[in-house]
Amino acid sequence: MLLPTKRLALLVALCVYPIAGLHAQLDFTIDGRQVQAHGFLSEGFALTNDNNYLTMNTTSGNFFTEAAFNVSSQITDKFRVGAQVYMRDIGHFGQWQPELDWAMGDYRFKSWFGVRAGKVKTTFGLYNDSQDMEFLQTWALLPQAIYAVDQRSSYIAHTGGDLYGSISPKKAGTFSYVLWAGKNPSDTNGGYAYALRTIGVDYTSYGGRSDGADLRWATPVSGFIVGASYMARDVVGNGTWAFYGTVAPVHEESHKEYLEQFYGQYIRGKFHADAEYRRYYRGIMVNYTMPVNDDDRCWYVSAAYRVHKRLELGTYYSYFDDVRAYTGLTASNPGSYVHDKVASARFDISSHVYFKLEGHFMSGYAEAALVRGFYTTDNPSGFSPLTNMLVMRAGYNF
């Protein structure tokens, strides 16, 4: 439960900044062009009764941090540019290293057709592209069955481009589409690489091509959205594999890897409900000869209600399940699943400052290679089948 200098400085900034009244949007002008600047800072604390979670020492209580800062400018009526830097420190993930989150040019020819190019956040399901911005959510942690913190970097963005647009046929609502192609960033510090280290595999590169599409329909029923996303991936990992005192090269590549997701959202007044389902099929070939296949089924349902101007209450159920024949684990084995029941309260101190209190009641731990928060390295004496967790978060955005 250490409070290092960086974290202490951020906490002080979090307290002082809004008190000093510095909460207005930062707009300024460069060479006659208006530039907008926005940012957020979020400080969290997680405490579990058993099992260390998300590479943190949560059984003793562990702080974690996320922050981002962006600038953007509308160059012409149709052309906009911008960039965002993001930083996190969540257990072994991030470790305070700033990364370019997105940086792109966006040319919108018509409402029904635009192009984005550069490093672009990947539109996938309801929240893939905004999953870092928990200040947008009721929850301190999004449903980890789908928006797993430890898999964030694998899907969050692509270097390439989007084609996008919206059409609104008369009385039929609005259809919005995004088609994208590009390359995912190399992610040797994510949960997958972290999990592989437990069996002696150390990747020096892990990433590859990603293509996909998202289609969503804002139906004529006010506040009701349905949609579907698809992503095909062609990922390559290279590194070394240490076993029985020898170190050999290791190589993996996708031979068939895809994600499909279906979702719905309903917002009416103070009420908000989401539901998403994802199937993730991953077939890879290790060292050109050894096939490994995973077939994950993940879903969640959530509902939240703003009971007061400053208080929102919500709950969700998050379900992750993966039975892999080659591991010998059965469906009833807690090493195959994580089922998480969550109750959450969000207090909005102002429109820019908030505090969240959240309880998680998890069953199962989905063993290491499934990358769902529970790692052998952090739990050397084994796993308990049940984990209760308290999460608190405070944040500020402008």
Binding site: Q25, N70, V120, S176, G269
Partner: protein
């Protein structure tokens, strides 16, 4: 009978609520009217044009006119709208719309800014701007 009277009163109240707001545009915008769906798409950044003219939405910063407009035409609360805009801004998909403090500020900004579209209270002066009929 009481049930019918209640429905009638609620309908009248809703009509009065919507008519508390008028939609204004810069004189450069070709349109003379706008549908509720077009209005929603423009203010939710899924559309950037109206009758071939580029448009840029302008918001009032809080207040009853803003609350009425957001609820009636966008189907959201102000907090939900701010969350929506922030999700676009922090994913690089749009900029935050201009927010101004009063009817007079909105009218003045819309009058001088090519393509600007905003809303003000029904009784506000619309000097220098065009009032759109919402269909």
């Amino acid at each position: 009978m009481n049930y019918l009277r209640s429905i009638l009163l609620l309908s009248l109240a809703a009509a009065a609520y919507a008519s508390d707001v008028k939609v204004i545009v810069n004189a450069s915008v070709n349109a003379a009217s706008i549908s509720a769906a077009e209005l929603k798409n423009i203010f939710l950044a899924t559309s950037t044009s109206l009758d071939g003219s580029h448009v840029e939405p302008v918001l009032e910063k809080g207040g009853p006119v803003h609350e009425a407009f957001v609820k009636e035409y966008l189907g959201k609360t102000d907090a939900a709208l701010q969350t929506y805009y922030r999700s676009l801004v922090f994913t690089g998909k749009a900029s935050m719309p201009k927010e101004l403090g009063s009817d007079a500020d909105v009218v003045a900004y819309v009058a001088k800014t090519k393509g600007a579209i905003g809303y003000v209270s029904a009784g506000a002066s619309a000097a220098g701007v065009k009032v759109l009929e919402v269909q």
